[in-house]
């Protein structure tokens, strides 16, 4: 089984420079620094490396959007906010192989001619922050970072920025706002960060995982990397799988691995041999898949084709004992809580949906509620500044549409579905009933 | 019979007939309200009470009288204050005077003296009544003129025009009656209606002069200036000759109206409905057409006859009320059209036809 980004995970002290170097770290950097920056960008474009934070925008293309003749400084911002429920991949890279990330950052900065990079890590990630800071210090001491990177005429400084723990700060423009010290509110686009980003200067914002694959693109060459994956989705990626499976965890697999294979072959199938009910394929904001839809290849394009998204590849598996309305309540409450409050549809819509679902769970549902949920979600969808509104609306729409009988039953009876062969776990009972 | 007794009898009869007219007139003010109310699904005046006693509003007569007497007597700024004051008196005076020739019974014999139940058995009674009614218009005209008010004057002029127009019909219809009964004496006319027609029908004017009755009633109502011929007054919209009158002077006009109404009822009774005659009742008792007889003494007969007269008059008062509360007012042009173009030709024709028939039958 080929391992790239997770190659060093599991080695003892893999986070130290010594261990990392012994296992290949910074060898790709040497190679990269010998190349022309344009060639690196070219190679990355060829590699079909997609933005693995969730949007799936080709990384190389993003880099190429930086204005060529701007006198302003350029910045690389690494998005380590990893707020999407069900996703834990960046954390592992930063904890276990920070030097891989640093290597990726240096290569990218070299490729985009940036001399300053920020790593924005979510506030709750104590250990990753500690490891990253230590790794940067080590790299600086070793002359890998600093005024002269690897002794070349290329200066690079990496700053670790600790976020304060807002889901919205995973969105690139609000991340930049947050980085600038402001309230984490998404910006209007255009201009995109590539043109006006951090401090209104050209900025590339990439996910930790994306940048961690950059050294391998250099190592293998763009085409070879692309061939690992499937069409237009190059290389591997890390799938975090959680929920009712026997072996939840992170699996680094090629792009396009079928979902069924991931669940049954790698994650060991459903707990206690129960029936699969539904799967969220790429983090909680992605539309849900029913048990019949899991033969889909896990890549950006295939999932988009069936109306879902690969997102951050945070697979969440629900078995037949899971009460979906209650699970949806957890999700919508999360989004209502994390909505930044800037634009109207998201601010009011997320909270409204959460209130409706809460009311249904409380047994006070009304006949029109399911339709109203879909209608509210549709009104939020696409009308917001940033994708958080969509992220909140899409699950509601897909869950209520695909599992409508279960919702209707709850609305009608005011309690969970009765026909379930096994007792349904009441998630709601474990939730504190703080006002949404 | 000595002169003193004769005067006493005359005074007695006069008092009787005046009391009859006045009390019935007073009663009619109550009847007017009550009858209209009952006709219109209402209750009518019933609030006046003495010690909580209401007797269906009868005390309203007294209340009205008290009110009329105690209200301010407003006299308009007019140079003819005397005429203004005398006009209502004229109105009521001539109306009452006409009752002198109305026979309210045959005659009674007291202590051998036969006393005719009529104030004055004038042998030209019809002409007398006719004259009195014609003179009554002065009251109205003078009232309108002396009020020094354009509206009152116009009302008076309308009254004159109306009364003159209808007087002709009024007179001509009576010509038919005179032709048939061949007398001008009221008592004689009543006595002439005592027989039977075709052996069973009372020989009343109504059967001999049906068209005459109709025309007479119409003209007579017009003479009394009551709805539908109330153009001289028209209280509700066009107002009339007594607009400047108040207090008892106004009351006298109103009262004159009611007196005239009784008078018309009495005349209709006398001319067309056999006056005091009771069908089949002779001087000695009833003699029914089928041969049955029922003897009664003179007093009984005479009482029945007076009662019959009172009942008949009351009925025609009621009938006039009914008409007054049923029909809407004529427009002035309609009034004139009716008078000159319908009633006058009809009454002429009626007179002519009567004359021809009387001649033919007489021959």
């Amino acid at each position: 089984m080929l391992k790239l980004a997770t190659r060093n995970i599991g080695l003892e002290n893999s986070h130290t420079l010594a261990v990392a170097r012994a296992n290949g770290a910074y060898s790709r950097l040497e190679k990269a620094l010998a190349m022309a920056p344009e060639a690196i960008v070219e190679d990355v474009i060829k590699s079909n490396l997609r933005g693995l934070g969730g949007a799936g925008f080709p990384a190389g293309r993003k880099w190429s959007f930086l204005p060529k003749d701007s006198p302003k400084p350029r910045y690389l911002v690494v998005n380590g906010d990893e707020g999407e429920p069900g996703t834990v991949k960046d954390k592992y890279i930063m904890i276990h192989d920070p030097h891989l990330l640093i290597e990726g950052i240096i290569i990218t900065c070299y490729a985009i001619r940036s001399h300053k990079a920020f790593i924005y890590i979510r506030g709750e990630y104590d250990l990753p922050i500690e490891r990253m800071e230590r790794a940067i210090a080590e790299a600086k001491d070793a002359g890998i970072l600093g005024e002269r990177v690897m002794g070349r005429d290329f200066a690079l400084d990496i700053v670790v920025h600790r976020g304060a723990g807002a889901y919205i700060c995973g969105e690139e423009t609000s991340l930049l706002e947050s980085l600038e010290g402001k309230r984490g509110w998404p910006r209007l686009k255009p201009p995109f960060p590539a043109v006006e980003g951090y401090q209104r200067c050209p900025t590339v914002v990439n996910n930790v995982e994306t940048l961690s694959y950059v050294p391998f693109v250099i190592e293998m060459g763009g085409q070879a990397f692309a061939d690992l994956g499937c069409e237009r989705n190059g290389g591997l990626r890390m799938y975090s799988i959680s929920g009712r499976v026997n072996k939840p965890g992170i699996y680094e697999l090629p792009m396009g691995t079928p979902l069924r294979q991931i669940i049954y072959d790698y994650a060991g199938g459903i707990t206690d041999g129960r029936r699969l009910k539904a799967v969220i394929p790429g983090g909680s904001s992605c539309p849900i898949l029913t048990a019949d839809e899991i033969d889909v290849p896990m890549d950006f394009d295939s999932l988009a084709k069936i109306g879902s998204m690969l997102g951050s590849a945070g697979i969440i598996v629900f078995d037949e004992t899971v009460s979906l309305p209650e699970a949806l309540l957890v999700l919508t409450r999360f989004y209502a809580h994390e909505s930044c409050g800037q634009c109207t549809p998201c601010r009011e819509g997320t909270a409204w949906m959460a209130k409706i679902i809460q009311r249904i769970i409380d047994g006070l549902g009304r006949p029109g509620d399911a339709d109203n949920l879909i209608r509210v979600a549709r009104n939020v969808l696409g009308n917001t500044i940033c994708p958080l509104g969509d992220a909140a609306a899409m699950p509601v729409m897909s869950w209520v549409t695909k599992f409508r009988p279960e919702f209707e039953e709850w609305i009608r009876r005011g309690r969970p579905v009765s026909e379930s062969p096994v007792p349904v776990t009441r998630i709601g009972e474990r939730l504190e009933r703080a006002a949404v | 019979m000595n002169a003193g007794l004769e005067i006493g009898v005359a005074v007695g009869k006069t008092i009787f007939i005046i009391m009859f007219a006045l009390s019935l007139g007073g009663l009619l003010t109550w009847v007017e309200r009550k009858q209209s109310a009952v006709m219109q699904d209402r209750i009518g005046a019933n609030r006046a009470s003495i010690l909580g006693l209401r007797v269906w509003g009868l005390f309203h007569i007294i209340a009205d009288a008290v009110k009329m007497f105690t209200k301010e007597d407003f006299v308009p700024n007019t140079p003819h204050k005397f005429i203004h004051a005398i006009a209502p008196v004229l109105s009521i005076f001539f109306a009452l005077l006409s009752f002198a020739v109305i026979p309210f019974g045959s005659s009674i014999v007291i202590a051998g003296h036969s006393i005719g139940l009529q104030v004055a058995d004038v042998n030209v009674g019809i002409l007398f009544i006719f004259a009195m009614m014609s003179v009554a218009v002065y009251g109205v005209v003078l009232a309108g003129w002396s009020s020094n008010n354009n509206y009152a004057l116009l009302g008076g002029i309308r009254a004159t025009a109306q009364m003159i127009s209808y007087e002709i019909t009024f007179g001509l219809t009576l010509v038919g009656v005179i032709l048939i009964f061949q007398t001008l004496s009221m008592q004689e006319i009543v006595r002439a209606q005592g027989g039977l027609l075709f052996g069973f029908l009372p020989r009343w004017g109504v059967f001999l002069q049906p068209l005459g009755l109709l025309l007479f009633m119409t003209a007579a109502i017009a003479e009394t200036k009551r709805i539908p011929f109330d153009i001289p007054e028209g209280e509700s919209e066009i107002i009339g000759f007594f607009v400047e009158y108040s207090s008892m002077k106004f009351g006298m006009f109103m009262f004159a109206d009611f007196i005239e109404q009784i008078l018309v009822a009495a005349m209709v009774t006398t001319f067309f409905f056999g006056g005091w005659q009771v069908p089949y009742l002779g001087d000695t008792g009833f003699a029914f057409p089928w041969g049955t007889t029922w003897d009664l003494n003179t007093w009984m007969v005479e009482s029945l006859r007076v009662a019959a007269f009172v009942v008949k008059v009351s009925f025609f008062c009621w009938l006039q009320m009914l008409i007054r509360w049923t029909l809407p007012r004529f427009r002035f042009d309609q009034l004139m059209n009716l008078g000159w173009k319908v009633l006058l030709p009809l009454s002429l024709a009626n007179t002519l036809a009567t004359a021809v028939i009387v001649l033919w039958v007489g021959r």
Binding site: L188, H337, C340, G341, Q342, P345, E348, W352 | -
Partner: protein
């Protein structure tokens, strides 16, 4: 110049124009909350969503810049549904406060809901509770529940006043507009917050519950608070006289003029209207008869007294001992009439308008000016320049104090803000015949031989020149207070009595005469002045360059 089509109508607009602006040019009004032409673009209310051809989603018109060949539709079903949805969202947590809300009647939520809203609400959920009726400054009341978080106010204090008192706190639907902790919103322009707020979240404490806005009549006017001459609207309450404590003028609102004040006005100007109907207005002529104290009088007697006293005094002490102070609080027309009567008619050389600068004057880069007289520029043109003597008020007061002035006219307000009561009393002690034509009672009317009430700017048409020389006209908003009369009438009456040439009594005609005689105003009339005024100095400058 890109050419675009909005609702099947084509327009060519400069590059950099947004769709909302282009649509406005076509007369198509796109509803908006957060967009304000005087502030930066937030794009957060999403009310202005429109359909742009080839765009996958609806676009916000306020932040979509026009491109050539762009096709925009503002009335499609998609747009209608989106607008209904946005209004539904905005109202989800909006309290049903309209009955007690001062904004009702000019509230954009009401207006747009009536126009674009979906009338059947599907909302069953409870509304959130937030802070209500918080006085956050001397002039502004905040009701967070009513706030729709459009952030106009936040941008106003950040971008216009740069005082940063307001912020949006908390997240999601708990977001709440609040003043920064420990800060009161007391900047010099805080009243504008009530103007920018499209709903009833920020309301004017001064206007609170006085009149319902639908009873107000609007008159275009110019602020007389300082030399800036901000364009304003006088909102008067003539229809329900028992409201607003029985006063006619309810509030002043700024009127957009890109050359003068843009959308704003300062608080000093905004609340200056209170003096118009204040209790210390002079409402009746006052006459001091020889040997008696000052008494209330009527116009006929007062004018006769002026005639008699001034003729007598001037006859005794000569024209040289006569002086006139016509303050720059007067309009151009009034100054012109005063000049005609006193300088040309009566040949009084000592006619002054210039005062010592206001020691308390404040000035900032936005609007406020040190000179609190509204018409210094015009007074200088009309009274000052063509007249060689051109004394200042100070020199005249000195001369009066020295006993050289026996007859004096003091016309127009504003002197009391520059000179203390005691100082004036001291300086004018020796003036024997003092004629004061004033709007308010003061030491001047108190000392006056005859004091005549005159109308304030709200009761009269007129024109003034701001500090740049822009000639702007204002209109009568209410009938004269008490027995006060327009100064033009008073001066014409006096001129008639002295058989001197009179200036027209109608301000419009008077201005026409002024335009004929004073070069600066040449070619101007009330019509050409229009709503925004004209700056002849700039006109000549541009004429010179071209």
């Amino acid at each position: 110049m890109p050419k675009l089509t909005i609702d099947d109508r084509t327009i060519e607009v400069p590059a950099g124009t947004t769709v909302i602006q282009a649509a406005e040019k076509l007369g198509i009004y796109i509803p908006r909350y957060c967009y304000h032409p005087g502030l930066s673009i937030a794009g957060s209310c999403r009310m202005c969503l429109v359909e742009v051809e080839k765009a996958p989603k609806l676009q916000i018109a306020c932040y979509t810049f026009v491109t050539d060949g762009m096709v925009v539709r503002t009335t499609t079903e998609k747009v209608t549904i989106a607008r209904q949805a946005i209004l539904e969202f905005l109202l989800a947590n909006h309290p049903l406060d309209c009955p007690v809300c001062d904004q009702a009647g000019e509230c954009k939520l009401q207006e747009f809901y009536m126009q674009f809203g979906q009338y059947d609400s599907t909302l069953l959920e409870n509304k959130l509770k937030k802070h209500k009726a918080m006085p956050i400054g001397p002039h502004i009341m905040l009701d967070s529940e009513r706030c729709i978080l459009c952030s106009r106010c936040v941008r106003f204090v950040d971008e216009v006043t740069k005082t940063h008192e307001l912020g949006i706190f908390n997240r999601g639907d708990h977001s709440e507009l609040l003043p920064v902790k420990g800060v009161t919103v007391d900047n010099a322009y805080s009243g504008c917050l009530a103007d920018v707020c499209p709903v009833g979240a920020l309301t004017d404490r001064d206007f609170r519950f006085k009149v319902r806005v639908w009873y107000l009549d609007k008159t275009e006017s110019v602020c007389h608070g300082c030399a800036r001459g901000c364009n304003i609207e006088i909102h008067s309450n003539r229809r329900r006289t028992h409201h607003n404590d029985g006063r006619l003028i309810a509030r002043l609102k700024p009127r957009f003029n890109g050359e003068v004040n843009h959308h704003w006005m300062c608080d000093t100007g905004r609340y200056s209207y209170k003096s118009i109907e204040s209790d210390d207005r002079l409402v009746q002529p006052l006459v001091r008869l020889t040997g008696k104290g000052q008494e209330k009088s009527d116009w006929t007697l007062a004018l006769a007294q002026i005639d008699e006293q001034v003729t007598h005094q001037v006859g005794r002490s000569g024209v040289a001992a006569a002086a006139v102070i016509a303050t720059p609080a007067l309009s151009n027309e009034e100054l012109w009439a005063a000049r005609g009567l006193f300088l040309q008619g009566m040949k009084i050389e000592k006619i002054a308008h210039r005062c010592t600068p206001d020691p308390n004057g404040v000035e900032d880069s936005l609007l406020r000016k040190t000179d609190t007289f509204p018409n210094s520029f015009g007074a200088n043109l009309i009274i000052g320049q063509p007249h060689t003597a051109d004394p200042t008020v100070d020199t005249i007061l000195e001369a009066a104090a020295a006993g050289k002035i026996k007859t004096m006219f003091v016309i127009g307000g504003g002197l009391l803000e520059r000179y203390s009561t005691d100082l004036l009393r001291e300086k004018l002690r020796n003036v024997e015949t003092l004629i004061a034509i004033q709007t308010h009672r003061s030491v001047l009317t108190e000392m006056a031989t005859v004091a005549l009430p005159m109308t304030s700017f709200a009761e009269m048409d007129g024109s003034i020149c701001n500090f740049e020389g822009r000639v702007q006209r204002y209109n009568q908003a209410m009938p004269p207070v008490g027995q006060s009369r327009p100064l033009l009438d008073t001066l014409a009456d006096l001129a008639n009595r002295w058989e001197l040439k009179t200036a027209p009594r109608q301000p419009e005609n008077c201005f026409a005469e002024l335009a004929q005689n004073a070069g600066y105003f040449a070619g101007l009339s009330y019509e050409t002045l229009g709503d925004g005024g004209v700056n002849p100095s700039r006109r000549s400058a541009t004429a010179a360059t071209t």
